[in-house]
């Protein structure tokens, strides 16, 4: 197997393929991520998403890709009863996350004002026939997490179409697999916890983690991170350090991990169980909790 890495969508994308398929396969995945980032980044002023956000309050005809991601995001918001909310752009900016994380200083000025709870997604109108989207005035979309999960799914699907025998695509912890390692082995994936790490063998599906290990900063006297609770519009304080979820598709794992993180250990576990998902909830106190069909660790890293 051969690994190819490149930067896209604000993270490092890693593609693992059989050697003879690595060059063509990784090039296709790179093209896909470049296209998705150029369309869906909220940080690129020329992106289609940035343009849509600037035209909130009026109907805008959008490309098939942006349309697909917005519709999926609205489905996810509905499926989580708003625990996943794609309309928290103003809230993220208000708590200081107003540029790509790579360029965000560790200390940002105190907030001038906070927007309050989210839920703007409920007032978005979509004209399916003409592929037009109308954002409510004052509402902006941040599709970062869900777009990354969908991109991983699309990349794996692309590799499957190209005839790859096996593949793993990992975009900063949002990953999906196709096929098996040589010899029919499952894919060993390192899952980080606050106190200890573990390795799980992923045979099929996808895995995503939402956590505060990396994207956190200081705003005035307040510690901030990027996982906002839509019920308050502020960084979630749920007692969790990270939520890792395994699902059939990466977009499902990504959305479920975000919702579980916002809910916290008890309600988050219930949320995952009710949906037939497996997960690992790493608490801030260092303890961890397996949910659903999450396997016993095969190795302590």
């Amino acid at each position: 197997m051969q690994r190819v890495r490149f930067g896209a969508m604000g993270t490092t994308v890693s593609v693992l393929l059989p050697e003879r398929q690595a060059e063509a396969g990784s090039a296709a995945v790179r093209d896909l991520f470049v296209h998705w980032e150029g369309t869906l980044s909220r940080f690129l002023p020329e992106s289609e998403l940035a343009s849509l956000n600037r035209h909130a309050g009026e109907p805008v005809a959008v490309s098939p890709l942006l349309y697909e991601v917005i519709v999926t995001a609205l489905q996810a918001a509905q499926a989580t009863e708003g625990l996943y909310d794609p309309t928290l752009l103003r809230h993220l900016v208000a708590v200081g996350y107003d540029r790509s994380f790579a360029t965000l200083p560790p200390q940002v000025p105190a907030a001038a004002g906070l927007p309050g709870p989210g839920g703007g997604w409920r007032r978005i109108t979509v004209d399916h026939r003409h592929r037009r989207v109308t954002l409510p005035a004052g509402v902006g979309l941040d599709l970062g997490g869900i777009a990354k999960g969908m991109a991983v799914d699309a990349a794996v699907s692309c590799l499957r179409t190209l005839g790859a025998d096996a593949a793993l695509v990992n975009a900063g912890g949002d990953l999906a697999v196709h096929g098996c390692l040589p010899g029919g082995a499952a894919w060993p994936v390192l899952v980080e916890g606050r106190a200890a790490c573990q390795v799980v063998l992923l045979r099929r599906g996808a895995l995503a983690t939402s956590g505060i290990a990396r994207r956190h900063w200081q705003q005035g006297q307040q510690g901030r991170h990027h996982l906002l609770d839509p019920r308050t519009g502020l960084p979630a304080q749920s007692g969790l350090w990270a939520a890792t979820v395994v699902a059939a598709r990466c977009v499902q794992a990504e959305v479920a991990a975000t919702a579980a993180f916002v809910l916290g250990p008890e309600e988050g576990a219930r949320f995952l169980q009710e949906r037939g998902l497996a997960g690992w909830l790493a608490r801030e106190d260092g303890l961890g909790q397996a949910v659903g069909a999450w396997p016993a660790p095969v190795e302590d890293a």
């Binding site: 509905q78 499952a186 994936v189 980080e192 063998l201 992923l202 994207r215 059939a248 499902q252 497996a278």
Partner: protein, 121 residues
């Protein structure tokens, strides 16, 4: 000597040698037959009423049984599936790997080392 000879009446419809028409059943015979017919009608009426009453009663019992509220705490009745994703199917897993769906699945056994890290997005 005089013999009491009771001559049987000729059968109905049978004409006498003289070509005269038979007189038909007597009034008494007709009354007797009507009486028998009345009895049979009465019996059939009673029987029909009984059958219909039984059917009506059975229908009421069945309807009452169907409308009877479910017994509380019936442990054998499966609970409805929880509303997991507001009906839009976003989290549909298509069955886990053990069920043959596309779903997700875990492997077992030892490993050489991880090929990927979960990170945290």
């Amino acid at each position: 000597m005089h013999d009491d000879v009771e001559t049987a009446p000729p059968p109905p419809g049978r004409r006498g040698r003289g070509g005269t028409a038979s007189p038909g059943p007597s009034k008494a015979e007709t009354v007797r037959r009507l009486h028998i017919l009345k009895k049979r009608i009465a019996v059939l009426t009673v029987l029909g009423f009984g059958v219909l009453s039984g059917l009506v009663a059975g229908h009421h019992v069945g309807a009452a049984a169907q409308s009877k509220p479910a017994a509380p705490a019936a442990t054998t009745v499966p609970a409805p599936a929880p509303s997991t994703d507001q009906g839009n199917g976003f989290f549909d897993q298509g069955g886990t790997s053990d069920q043959g769906g596309y779903g997700y699945g875990f492997g077992t056994g030892g490993v050489q080392g991880p090929v990927a890290g979960s990170g945290a997005s």
